[in-house]
């Protein structure tokens, strides 16, 4: 103990050796299990623990056997359901969230504060609470909303809106109002100024929001599961959840790998667009942005 303390004192800014070791072990521990799961999605055999050579049979193989993601109706349907929900959610939540962000940033009325509060609330609500809430309201009050795709879509949009607002708001504060006011000084109307000045300036945040909403929607498990109607509305995460303990073939790993690739692609697009097109300012250290994957 004293020996190590002594050595640290001799070189106070040197890197203590145990820190990189702990970090390296942590990184290995966090990545290796997933890497093994990905590896076995390419297994030539049926086992998920004995390697029998490389093959893509669990992705695209053999229509007759119907065991690959492409030809197993259950797996393919969950992939389609996930994509369908993510695209619909993206198309609806992003415009709603962008408009809400613009409105909340500039509205100075009596109800502005409570509205802002309402917007922040979904972000701190545990998912299980939101799942229960949506399930109960569709079960007891909005009985005209069928469980399954419609209910899942409504739920996904609800938890996505606030993320969009957070992303767009940072950008809005960075832009300020000067450019729009200049446009209006030069004779543009309110809406012309918005369309021709604000909207182009917001474009990076907008594109990032699209990709981000796609990613968090396709990643969602709890809301999708609470609002499920039957086999048709099973999404990939729900399929992983219900299939994992039933000694599944590697096609489940293949499905998970596809989800991972799609998510990483969406987040990479969001991150790259956000970095390339706009300098980020605004809320520094916002945990939400960090969680969303922008703290790079």
């Amino acid at each position: 103990m004293t020996a190590r303390k002594g050595s640290v004192l001799r070189n106070p800014w040197g890197k203590p050796r145990f820190l990189p070791l702990v970090t390296a072990l942590y990184v290995l521990w966090s990545i290796i299990p997933v890497a093994i799961a990905v590896q076995f999605s390419f297994n030539a055999g049926r086992s998920r623990s004995v390697w029998q050579g490389f093959s893509t049979r669990w992705y695209v193989g053999d229509p007759a056997a119907a065991e690959s993601v492409l030809y197993d109706p259950t797996l393919l349907s969950s992939l389609m359901q996930s994509l369908k929900l993510a695209i619909l959610t993206m198309l609806v939540a992003t415009p709603l969230g962008v408009a809400l962000a613009v409105g909340l940033a500039r509205w100075r009325g009596l109800l502005a504060k409570p509205s802002n509060f309402l917007m922040l609330f979904p972000l701190v609500t545990p998912e299980i609470v939101m799942g229960v809430a949506l399930f109960l309201v569709f079960d007891n009050l909005y009985d005209f909303v069928p469980f399954g795709t419609v209910a899942q879509f409504l739920g996904h949009v609800t938890f996505s809106i606030s993320f969009v607002v957070i992303i767009v708001r940072g950008r809005l504060f960075a832009i300020g109002r000067d450019y729009e006011e200049a446009a209006m000084d030069l004779g543009a109307s309110q809406f012309e100024a918005m369309r021709r000045v604000l909207l182009p300036l917001l474009a990076p945040a907008l594109l990032a929001s699209f990709a981000m909403v796609f990613a968090i929607s396709i990643d969602d498990f709890v809301i999708s599961q609470f609002l499920i109607a039957g086999a048709d509305s099973i999404t990939i995460p729900v399929q992983l959840y219900s299939g994992a303990r039933l000694a599944p073939p590697p096609s489940l790993n293949a499905l998970a790998t596809i989800l991972m690739v799609v998510t990483i692609a969406a987040i990479a697009v969001a991150g790259l667009v956000f970095r390339a097109l706009g300098k980020r300012r605004g809320e520094s250290g916002s945990a939400l942005e960090s969680v969303a994957g922008f703290e790079m």
Partner: protein, 314 residues
């Protein structure tokens, strides 16, 4: 100032009509009212409903004047002295131990990547961010795979036992082990702890630490009296971020054990809502109890942060 527009009551900020900005906010606000606030209220309406004397099911009561506490009485009876109490205590113990492990493992990692990683910092950062981009269920499924009776973990252990010619009976890791569930929680949530902590450690000015060293403090002393206090809010923030979902988690214990020995609070809610048709009211009551508990945690966090910022300003 646009000269063609009069300033005055009709306009709030420069040149914009009064209704414009609330107009933008309205669709989103209405959506959140109808699909967040009303559903939130629905939990209370269902939990406080009256038990139908004939059908023996609970009818939701939308008017607070007629709210009945019967279901809550049942839930509380079970919580204080029933099976639910055991489950709640187990959940608190799991979450507490898992959070502690997250701090013990996560702090050195966040500290290293934020302050000591040097030239390869971006790579380390990418690596600790990687779990964010991988679905939680996939990460759990990977462990189910590794820990299954004929999975890699048992194969590796058998190999190691073979080297020392020790007899090895493969244990069933997924049959209700507390340790496996707790480690699963740590595995699942630790990235969400590390990232806010990383951000807060990253903000500490090196000059502060140099000042401490110049004034004669040892590195350990500097860490204990400067770095740690400055990162305490990051630790607290990270803890809130991971504890909130952990208290409502049901999928982790279900996947990694599925045994009643490891049932968590979220599992009972999941059972009452998703797996039965008649116990919705009890599920709603348990959800409200969870919300109150979690809101207490949040309040503690906000008060602490608030006090720290105020103390920092003085």
């Amino acid at each position: 100032m646009p000269t063609n527009l009069a300033s005055g009551a009709e306009y709030d900020t420069v040149g914009s009509k009064r209704w414009v900005w609330p107009g933008f906010a309205v669709p989103g606000i209405v959506w959140l009212l109808l699909l967040f606030l009303v559903p939130f209220y629905a939990i209370f309406a269902v939990a406080m409903g009256q038990v139908d004397p004939i059908l023996q099911r609970v009818n939701p009561e939308w008017n607070p004047i007629y709210w009945a506490p019967e279901v809550f009485a049942d839930a509380f009876a079970d919580l204080f002295g029933g099976q639910l109490g055991v489950i709640a205590l187990r959940t608190i113990a799991y979450v507490f131990i898992a959070s502690l492990l997250c701090v013990i493992v996560g702090y050195p990692v966040a500290y290293f990547v934020s302050r000591k990683a040097g030239r390869w910092r971006w790579l380390w950062l990418l690596l600790i961010l990687a779990p964010f981009w991988i679905n939680y269920l996939m990460r759990m499924m990977s462990w189910v795979n590794l820990l299954s009776p004929d999975g890699q973990v048992n194969r590796w252990l058998a190999t190691i036992a073979g080297w020392f010619s020790v007899a090895f009976t493969p244990p069933d890791w997924l049959a209700g082990s507390h340790l496996v569930v707790i480690l699963g929680l740590v595995y699942g949530y630790i990235p969400f702890f590390i990232l806010p902590l990383f951000a807060s450690l990253d903000r500490i000015d090196n000059a502060t630490l140099e000042a401490s060293r110049d004034l004669g403090a040892s590195p350990l002393n500097t860490f204990w009296r400067v770095t740690w206090p400055l990162s305490r809010n990051g630790v607290l923030g990270g803890l809130v971020i991971i504890m909130l979902p952990m208290f409502g988690d049901y999928y982790t214990p279900n996947l990694l054990s599925g045994s009643p020995r490891t049932t968590m609070y979220g599992n009972t809610i999941d059972q009452f809502i998703n797996q039965t048709t008649s116990q919705g009211a009890l599920g709603a009551a348990l959800t409200i109890i969870l919300m109150i508990f979690v809101a207490g945690l949040m309040a503690y966090y906000l008060i602490t942060i608030n006090r720290a910022t105020r103390a920092g300003r003085e």
